[in-house]
């Protein structure tokens, strides 16, 4: 499905410095039983967010009003583990549009791009800077500019550029998805299939 267009986003951010956050943490398997795409945000980080009785755990960042925003700033090796796209649906459904980390797992990053959540990879130094800035002032804003491929800490104007391939960038900016592209070249694919 075509999705929201993404050009620039300036907002506050939610920090999650833990490393190796895997997709089982983002959305535990027992919440994968839906046959539609809606409602996964309620179970985002379920077991970190709620105790076994379903009460919010005070010390988890999503339960702390101090932090909010459409940008999730995450620790190294974010999204490792299963290929469940539900993890990105949960992130999207909760309200995030961009995830920043110094290192993403492959399939997770692909899944993000496929549904219109922008994964931004920055240097370890820059991510530390972001964590420090958010800790010092939870209302600090981050600006993510896709056309110029830069991410900026608005308060200090410190900035870094990030990579994204031109095709995916165009897709994100225009809200196109890969199926649109593939359906457009179906003759070519049919010809190829015949040779297999």
């Amino acid at each position: 499905m075509a999705y929201d267009k993404f050009t620039t986003l300036q907002d506050t951010a939610v920090p999650l410095p833990a490393e190796n956050v895997d997709t089982d943490q983002i959305i535990p398997a027992r919440f994968l039983k839906a046959t539609e795409r809606e409602g996964f945000g309620d179970n985002l980080f379920r077991d970190w967010r709620y105790d076994t009785e379903g009460n919010p755990k005070k010390d988890f960042v999503l339960n702390d009003d101090t932090y909010s925003g459409k940008i999730l700033v995450a620790g190294k090796n974010f999204g490792s583990g299963s290929s469940r796209e539900h993890a990105v649906w949960a992130i999207y459904d909760y309200g995030f549009r961009c995830v920043v980390s110094s290192f993403f797992a492959d399939i997770f990053k692909n899944n993000c791009l496929n549904i219109g959540v922008l994964p931004v990879t920055v240097s370890p130094e820059f991510i530390d800077k972001l964590f420090e800035a958010i800790e010092a002032d939870p209302k600090v804003e981050i600006k993510v500019d896709l056309p110029s491929q830069t991410i900026t800490l608005v308060s200090t104007a410190e900035s870094e550029s990030f990579e994204i391939n031109e095709y995916k960038k165009q897709n994100m900016q225009n809200g196109f998805d890969d199926i649109d592209y593939l359906l457009n070249i179906s003759d070519e694919i049919e010809a190829f299939e015949k040779t297999r």
């Binding site: 190796n20 994968l32 039983k33 839906a34 077991d47 076994t52 539900h86 890969d178 694919i189 299939e193």
Partner: protein
Amino acid sequence: MEKTTLFDKVWDSHVVRSVPSGPDVFFIDKHFIHEVTSPVAFLNLEKRGIGVKYPERTIATPDHNVPTIDQDQTIKDKLSRMQVEKLRNNCDKYGIELHDLGSAHHGIVHVIGPELGVTQPGMTIVCGDSHTSTHGAFGAIAFGIGTSEVEMVLATQCIMQSKPKKMRISVEGKLSKGVTSKDIILYIISKISAAGATGYFVEYAGSAIRSLSMEARMTICNMSIEMGARGGLIAPDQTTFDYLKGKQYAPKGADWESAVAKWQELKTDEGAEFDKEYHFDAEDIEPMITYGTNPGMGIKVKDRIPTTDGMEGSNKKSYLKSLEYMGFNPGEPVLGKKVDFVFVGSCTNGRIEDIRSVAQFVKGKKKADNITAWIVPGSREVEKLAHEEGLVQILEDAGFKLRQPGCSACLAMNDDKIPAGKYAVSTSNRNFEGRQGPGARTMLASPLTVAAVAVTGEITDPREVF
């Protein structure tokens, strides 16, 4: 002529076109689907008003959320039942081959693909499940995809993929007694870390790998994703051909001969370059076990949990958080720790060879009283063989029971959940927090080590119980 790797050969021959400064349009030979990651893909096809382009290239089975007892009865859990029914309806509607609960070839998708001979050398294979890498053992490029991509494959038989970098991991030498392919892969991941191969596709090579059976090779390729790799593959050889010969979907007669001739070409040329290479010595590998909450946190069973020396900042914090979850302290040994559950199964180690090795080990011994054991065959075929070979009897005499096929406690989507705080030693592939149930503490090991634990009731080196 340019020297290319096995991976290049298979990849390049499946590129329909390359998008300038973008990904390749990548053709998929075989597509596996299951009940959890496919319903939304079908729903989206409907919304777009399009159908399944090549239904004969997709094969389905319900495995992730199915119960492992009473499979002949209606699934009790409503949501699971709905997912399985959706899968049935979708397969019916679009003409997709379904290996349903109770049928002769029902099982975990990565176990039945090879068993049926659907998985073949040189193919491209995808599935909405990260352990699709299992099929790489046949010299196929196989990897997990997200639901949007499942939709792409159903609609067009292609996905858009940038070609990953290439890594070769060679293991040379002879494995010692009591050391299995699970130990090889846990050892490799502990050396290069849970993210060490992110961005790469791995080829496993070397004499120790060549000496392995197909089942054992599948275990290794299966866990490629646990070091971040998109997948892993092994060049096909006589072992591969012998395994495939006569399988239901394997080529027959003259087709077989020409297929084998073609498959024999599928290898890395002498002198071809990789972006990264690792070399390991088989003699250094011993029975392994994980002590933390990612598969890179593994040690030799007889070793101590690493201390925090040399760690700092968020790295140290994550490490200590992980140990806290497990209830372990830095620097302590794992040997002798009490265990509550053992799980033998999953697409990593739920094949007949695994059940055989457990049965052989426990033969004439008894299960420890403190252990609850779940032994779950990867497929109906495995279950059938276990009966025919008398393994079920041996297991029962030792106090174990064989359940019915499915993913089971590997991801705890069904009722097979390890209770909070309890310790499970498992043959599956992930020890993430809560993977086997909220609060469950998982330690990954080989079927042999798990069998030893089941008998002693505590963390045990299998070589000490022979």
